[in-house]
Symmetry: C2
Subunit: 345 residues, 2 copies
């Protein structure tokens, strides 16, 4: 299996985020990537190649131009205008019903950013761009005939919407890849197995009939992203019926999880997509410091094998997963389940 990764992504090293008004360690550290790369190598999962520079065009097909410009320039603008070199954090957010775009930098900081978990450091933009380029390269390799590619994206993407970002995510890698795969009108399904609902991905495709989004995740009434991800969010307009949220209770075990996955895959199959993108988070792991679900390494292998039975060309896009010692072997177990055609289900 082909893996796409750029060492530039490692330069994004958030020193801290802000939680409940206090500095707090970020779980999205570069060591996550080290764990994954070591496991891919050890388990001989195939070559790791760097992505081509795909420019901004495929990103503009998903995200607001103003937000891209903001992400690209925020760190420098803060240094130039405010004379500081700390990471960029917002302070003021748009109230309900009031969201005019302000001319000044301080206002723009809260216009796009939705929480205190996405600081912008000196290297954030270049790592984010490289991460998006991995997803784009993955999509291009699929179009060239690969049946299964792994885009080792970091920072992750599924909490980034058309004109907002948050929750460790700046650009929506999975959605950007989906738009590349849809360029000739193909039908694309995005299956999100991260612990958290991908509220950004949902927002991007909510009114689209040609893109399907389905997610298994912690009940947003109990955990991030809180304000979306409920079961009654089914899409609107032409997109009605193409959005499937399956919120699960805190502490959900592997049996219950796999059963919910099976049902969701039936919905996915009914959509009859030409391409499948998996937003693959591993914070559903029993040992994850953020999540509460009970999946084991063997469980991730089963999830991969279940998805393989769909027999749809599949691009895997890395999302969350924060148990660094076990993250690599969980990713590898999943990818092996997904790609190893010698195994049977």
């Amino acid at each position: 299996m082909l893996t796409i990764y750029s060492p530039v992504q490692r330069t994004h090293q958030p020193a801290y985020v802000v939680k409940q008004g206090e500095r707090s360690a970020s779980f999205d550290v570069p060591e996550r990537v080290d764990s994954i790369l070591a496991a891919l190598n050890k388990q001989e999962l195939g070559p790791v190649i760097a992505p081509d520079d795909a420019g901004l065009e495929p990103i503009r097909a998903v995200h607001d131009t103003g937000m891209i410009e903001y992400l690209m320039t925020a760190y420098e603008r803060q240094n130039a205008e405010a004379g500081v070199s700390t990471p960029v954090f917002p302070t003021f957010f748009p109230p309900p019903g009031q969201r005019r775009h302000p001319g000044c930098f301080e206002g723009q900081k809260g216009f796009y950013c939705t929480n205190m978990g996405v600081p912008i450091n000196e290297d954030t933009w270049k790592a984010t761009l490289a991460s998006a380029h991995c997803a784009i390269a993955g999509a291009r390799h699929m179009q060239s005939g690969e049946s299964c590619v792994y885009a080792l994206c970091r920072p992750p993407g599924h909490h980034a919407g058309p004109d907002f970002f948050g929750g460790y995510c700046y650009l929506n890698n999975a959605a950007i890849a989906a738009q590349v795969l849809r360029e000739n009108g193909e039908r694309v399904a995005i299956l999100d197995i991260d612990y958290h609902h991908g509220n950004g991905t949902q927002a991007i495709f909510y009114a689209e009939s040609g893109a399907w989004y389905g997610s298994l995740h912690i009940d947003p009434g109990t955990d991030y992203p809180f304000f979306a991800g409920y079961a009654d969010e089914v899409g609107i307009g032409a997109g009605e019926g193409t959005n499937w949220n399956v919120p699960l209770s805190p502490g959900t075990g592997q049996g219950r999880y796999l059963s919910a996955l099976k049902t969701l895959l039936v919905r996915l199959t009914a959509f009859n997509p030409q391409w499948l993108i998996v937003s693959a988070g591993f914070d559903t792991y029993i040992g994850d410091p953020i999540g509460t679900f009970q999946l084991t390494t063997a469980g991730f292998n089963k999830v991969g094998r279940r998805i393989r039975t769909l027999n749809i060309p599949t691009l895997v896009v890395q999302e969350g997963g924060y148990c660094i010692p076990d993250l690599g072997r969980n990713v590898a177990a999943f990818l092996k389940g997904l790609a190893d055609f010698k195994q049977s289900d």
Copy 2:
């Protein structure tokens, strides 16, 4: 002139706010009230009386029940559920188009709160309630025949909307008083002379034909509240034409300010209100640490005298103003201009 104030308001002592991800001193300190009370006493501006307990009913006439409940219980809930005793700060805010009400406390923290400048401490709710009760008592005294009353509200209120709060404000004292004064269908005008646009007040009355809101303030494209307060926000539906925003440039001088006030008072007069409420902020002062306008103490006297020429019964509701050494004399100069019938304009 009658002043309404409760010593309970002094108990709200925010140890810090969060700016750009860092702890920062709050400008809304209890010493603001000390400065005002000392000046009122020195300049013999009349009695200071405590408000009656007006309960929650007049507050529910303006604010969402869920938000009131949240403000009332947040500090205790944080202690009980998260086991900490730091002030309550939100971390996650609703993205555009996604604002489901989450069941859990952590989600609710960002559902109502719009920025990092409104920590909830142990005494915040009781001080906030006392502040709102001052405004209500002021309105009741007006209904009993007073022609000019000063509600020494703190915390201030004009950034609190129907279901949001922010910018040092938790409940909208001026709007609550306005609803009391409107109880028999009277027409009420709210003139906001704080340095910042009163985005909460605007939101509350934006679709109302019987309440007029007019504000002179710093261009929101350059300063808080950033996302509302522009000149083209004129009201909607039945309220179209009853909202007047006059954004002024950074550094606006007294001449330009008084001229803009004169124009705004013409619009106010055309509305023909039975009652006038002044959202009185003094952060337009030349020495204010937050504002950039150039008003002097004598200028505030002129503003008061201009408003007096309208000859409408007037309730003054305290909003911002952070130059503590001069705040009291600025308030007194304004009130004297407004109420001293021996002076002529």
